[in-house]
């Protein structure tokens, strides 16, 4: 028993060294399968959540993300935001004037006027639960606006 434990101890110690050696080369092979298998994704508070609707324009697209009221609870927060994005960056006009329906009821919930060159936006809310503009952002390949919302369901 003593010798078995000893043998196991040394064997595991050697395995530890092998793990240390192999982790570097294996990272590249394991990373993608790990993310795919676990289904992990970035918090919608950072990436804006899934795109709910894509509107095609001549040279660019409007991507309306879903409303984000996420929490670790089973349930939603009282306040959140929605991200509206326009891509590709190079094809955007100097000014964008668009009415946006965020809850899919075919009624515009707010209007955005975006000066893409100066990264400025003006928000005109149509619904009572649309609060204010959080910010206008220029990403690598798109322009986005985040609008703060009150949760209409709460």
């Amino acid at each position: 028993m003593k010798y078995i434990k000893s043998f196991l101890g040394y064997s595991i110690a050697v395995v530890c060294i092998l793990i240390s050696i192999m982790v570097g080369p294996m990272i590249g092979l394991l990373a993608e399968p790990f993310i795919k298998t676990t289904g992990l994704r970035l918090s919608p508070n950072y990436d804006g959540g899934e795109v709910r609707q894509t509107i095609d324009h001549a040279a660019y697209q409007t991507l309306v993300h879903r409303m984000v009221f996420d929490n670790t609870l089973i349930g939603e927060r009282k306040e959140g935001f929605v991200q509206v994005e326009w891509a590709p960056l190079a094809a955007l006009p100097a000014h964008i004037d668009e009415e946006v329906d965020v809850n899919g009821d075919n009624q515009a919930d707010f209007r955005l006027v975006v000066d893409t060159a100066n990264k400025q936006s003006v928000l005109t809310p149509y619904s009572s639960w649309v609060q204010e503009l959080e910010g206008t952002y220029r990403f690598k390949n798109s322009m986005a606006v985040r609008v703060r919302l009150k949760n209409p369901a709460r």
Binding site: K5, G9, I12, L40, S43, Y46, D70
Partner: protein, 393 residues
């Protein structure tokens, strides 16, 4: 003084003969070449190649002396400190080149451009398990940022299995700062530290895990991490973010610089870091540990006084063990006048060869050091770039 010298000379040594140390260093030379050369040969720049060769020779020299002299802690600390200093020397110029500054704007955050740090692990676990989301504004797969979640997670799991709490003295990208400042003075100015402070990392762990799960944000990163000073931080654009910047600057100066200098201990690592608290639980499944041979121990308590992370106390010493917070740095092993402290592999006899256990552990730990040790190559390359072109970018 003569008596001390006599005792020291009689102290059983872990020193190896030159030929043996060279022989045992050869596998490390092969392993480090195997891990680093493919990246170096793809660099396409002679300066990068020179930086790589110098770094490769340097780390293998350090490893050789670690084995030859038997002084694990001394040479481990050298490597650990070099990596910690190399990180900002590479990372900050990269941030400036990629984003224009080391400050994170909302645009960088919302595009997943923050580099993923392993210290976030305690905070992201519950949201990841419950909602399958990562509550950190970084990439999941490596495309743009310096470090992606998937890479850091895999490294963390592997290192936890391989060295357990040894992460804090062998792998951590930041611990070298604490280590460096704790070694500046010969003698501590503050000697008596209330032992209740060793529970702060665990209280911190509990608090940040719960608060992060409730707020869906990485609380430690936003409010408490002192090492943002060496990497990236949210731009102070309003009162809230300005307060956050002020806090981490104060924490860095206090916990990483001043208190380690005054106490000669790793205060941030031993008395604050919640990631260390998490690792100490994971330490239970690690095969390596540090033990004290009670037959040899003279109860001089030198180890209690010098342990950088407060991982020895009277009762643990009496049972010949360290506390769960032991980072396996080897400071007690190297400093014990009787050679009573030693590395041990669980399951093996307590009288089994300490040299074998030491060599096996040092191999596991040093190889893991090479993963982030790539920062040394990058830092050297940037220094050469600075000398030759006047810019580190």
């Amino acid at each position: 003084m003569a008596a001390i010298a006599q005792v020291k000379s009689r102290r059983p040594s872990l020193q190896l003969p030159v030929w043996k140390a060279l022989l045992l260093s050869l596998p490390m030379l092969l392993i480090s070449s195997f891990l680093w050369v493919p990246n170096l040969s793809g660099a396409g720049d002679s300066l990068a190649l020179i930086a790589g060769i110098i770094a490769l020779l340097g780390i293998n020299t350090i490893f050789f002396f670690m084995l030859y002299t038997g002084k694990t802690d001394r040479y481990r600390a050298v490597m650990f400190i070099i990596i910690a200093i190399a990180l900002p020397m590479d990372f900050i110029p990269w941030m400036i080149k990629t984003y224009g500054s080391m400050m994170l704007t909302d645009e960088i955050v919302y595009s997943g451009g923050a580099s993923f740090c392993p210290l976030t692990m305690p905070m992201i676990l519950i949201p990841a398990l419950v909602k399958r989301v990562i509550i950190f504004p970084g990439e999941l797969l490596p495309t743009m940022a310096h470090g992606a979640f998937s890479l850091m997670f895999i490294i963390w799991v592997a290192a936890s299995l391989s060295v357990g709490m040894g992460w804090c003295s062998w792998v951590c990208l930041y611990g070298g700062w604490d280590e460096f400042f704790s070694r500046l003075r010969r003698k501590p100015l503050i000697k008596n530290i209330d032992r209740r402070w060793i529970y702060l990392p665990f209280g911190m762990l509990l608090a940040i895990v719960v608060l992060s799960a409730i707020t869906f944000t990485p609380i430690y990163c936003e409010w408490f991490c002192p090492f943002k000073i060496a990497t990236e931080f949210q731009a102070p654009v309003n009162l809230l973010t300005s307060i956050q910047v002020g806090i981490f600057v104060v924490l860095f100066i206090g916990l990483v610089v001043v208190l380690p200098i005054l106490t000669r201990r790793r205060v941030q690592c031993g008395l604050f870091c919640p990631f260390g608290a998490l690792q100490s639980f994971l330490n239970k499944i690690n095969i390596f540990e540090v033990r004290v041979d009670l037959d040899k121990c003279s109860e001089c308590k030198q180890c209690l006084r010098t342990c950088p992370t407060f991982s020895l106390d009277e009762s643990s010493l009496k049972s010949g063990k360290t506390l769960i917070t032991c980072t396996k740095c080897s400071k007690c092993i190297d400093g014990c006048p009787k050679g009573a402290a030693y590395y041990h592999i669980k399951g093996t006899s307590l009288k089994a060869s300490p040299q074998t256990a030491r060599i096996l552990f040092v191999y596991a730990g040093f190889v893991l050091m090479l993963i982030f040790g790539g920062e040394i190559v990058n830092a050297l390359y940037r220094i050469f770039k600075l000398i030759t072109t006047g810019s580190m970018l």
